[in-house]
C-alpha cells in the first residue's frame, strides 16, 4: 500500500527483496547502499541473529526522481530467507508495492527456489495481494559460480521453474560484484511507480 503525501509532495514506495536463504538478498541491498552517494540514502538498518543472517529487514529509503512533481522515495526491505522465519517474512511483505525475487542459481538450491516462490504467493494472498498483479522482477543470482566448476541451473531452467507462468522481467546477477543489481532495482522501481501511478493517481 503506497503512501502519498501531498503536503511533502512525496510518494513512498515499499519494495521487498524476497527469496530463499543465502540467495543474496542482503548482498543486493548492501551493494546498492554502498554504491549510492549519501544524499540519496537514509540509514541502513540491519537486524541480525546469530550467524549473521538477516532476521527482520534492511531498510533503505532512497530518493529518486519525480512523478507528477511528487518526489519518489523507495524503501527497500529484505526478508529472512530461512524457513523458520516464515512469520517474519509475512510481516515484511505487508504493504509492499513491488517484489524482487532473488533466486539462487546453484543447482542444489533448485527446490528451495520453488518453495520460496510458493511461500511468496501464499503470503501475498494472505494480504489480499495477487502475485500476478503486484510488480515483480526475478533476479537469477550467483551466475559466476558456473565458471568455478560448481553446478548451476541454466537460465532456461530457472525460467521454467519460476517464471514460466508469471512472465516477469528477469536479470542475471552477481550481487557482490554489482552485476545486474542496479538493472534489477531500476526495473522494479519503474514498475512499482507506474503501478502506484496507474492505480492511485489516475484521477489526480
Amino acid at each position: 500500500m503506497a503512501l502519498i503525501d501531498l503536503k511533502k509532495r512525496e510518494i513512498y514506495c515499499k519494495i521487498v527483496y524476497y527469496g530463499p536463504g543465502r540467495s543474496g538478498k542482503t548482498t543486493n541491498l548492501l551493494y546498492i547502499y554502498n554504491a549510492l552517494p549519501d544524499k540519496f540514502k537514509g540509514k541502513l538498518l540491519t537486524i541480525e541473529t546469530k550467524g549473521e543472517r538477516t532476521l527482520f529487514f534492511d531498510l533503505l529509503p532512497l530518493s529518486l526522481g519525480k512523478i507528477k512533481d511528487l518526489d519518489i522515495r523507495l524503501q527497500l526491505y529484505t526478508v529472512p530467507g530461512q524457513a523458520i522465519y516464515k512469520p517474519a517474512r509475512k510481516v515484511v511483505l505487508k504493504g509492499a508495492d513491488g517484489v524482487v525475487f532473488v533466486a539462487d542459481s546453484l543447482r542444489i538450491r533448485r527446490e528451495k527456489n520453488k518453495e520460496s516462490l510458493q511461500d511468496l504467493k501464499e503470503h501475498l494472498m494472505e494480504w489480499n495481494m495477487d502475485i500476478h498483479e503486484i510488480p515483480l522482477v526475478f533476479q537469477y543470482n550467483k551466475r559466476d559460480l558456473g565458471e568455478m566448476g560448481i553446478p548451476i541451473l541454466s537460465i532456461d531452467e530457472l525460467q521454467a521453474d519460476l517464471n514460466a507462468e508469471l512472465q516477469a522481467p528477469y536479470f542475471e546477477a552477481i550481487a557482490p560484484k554489482g552485476v545486474g543489481v542496479f538493472e534489477t532495482l531500476k526495473t522494479i522501481s519503474k514498475m512499482s511507480v507506474r503501478y502506484i501511478a496507474e492505480k492511485y493517481l489516475k484521477q489526480g
Binding site: M1, L6, Y12, G42, L45, A96
Partner: protein, 127 residues
C-alpha cells in the same frame, strides 16, 4: 488495499490532533504510521531519534506481535508497551491499517498516555 493519500489539510488536522492530545500532555514524540512502516505525520521533539527506522521497526513489531496473537488464538493485540530506563514507548492500533507510536519519559504517567491515546483514536476515526 488502497493507497493512503494525505492532503495538506489532512496533514495539518492530524498534526494538530497529535499536538493537542499527546504533546500537550507531555509526550515527547508521537508518530502516526501505516502498517507498511511509513510515517503519516509526526509531532514532538525527536532529539536524535531516527524516526524513519523507528516507524519501520514499530510496524514490524506490531506485525510480529500479531503473529504471536494468532498462535495464542487471539485476533490480535491492539496495544504494545515497552518500558525503558528513561524512555517508554506505547504502540496502539488505530483502525485496521494505522498505528500510533508514542514516546514518553517516566514523568508522564502511563495511564494518562493510554487515556489520551484512546481519546485521540476516536478523533482520528473521523479524519
Amino acid at each position: 488495499m488502497g493507497a493512503l493519500i494525505l492532503t495538506p489539510e489532512k496533514v495539518t488536522r492530524l498534526e494538530k490532533l497529535l499536538e493537542d492530545y499527546l504533546i500537550s500532555a507531555g509526550v515527547s514524540l508521537a508518530l502516526l504510521i501505516d502498517e507498511a512502516g511509513n510515517i503519516l505525520v509526526s509531532q514532538g521533539s525527536s532529539r536524535e531519534v531516527d524516526t524513519t527506522a523507528l516507524a519501520a521497526l514499530a510496524a514490524a513489531n506490531f506485525g510480529a506481535t500479531n503473529q504471536i496473537a494468532k498462535i495464542l488464538g487471539e485476533e490480535d493485540f491492539s496495544i504494545l508497551y515497552h518500558k525503558g530506563k528513561k524512555d517508554n514507548i506505547h504502540l496502539s492500533k488505530i483502525r485496521e491499517d494505522l498505528i500510533l507510536v508514542t514516546v514518553f519519559t517516566d514523568e508522564v504517567p502511563l495511564g494518562l498516555v493510554r487515556l489520551k491515546v484512546s481519546q485521540l483514536a476516536k478523533e482520528l476515526e473521523k479524519v
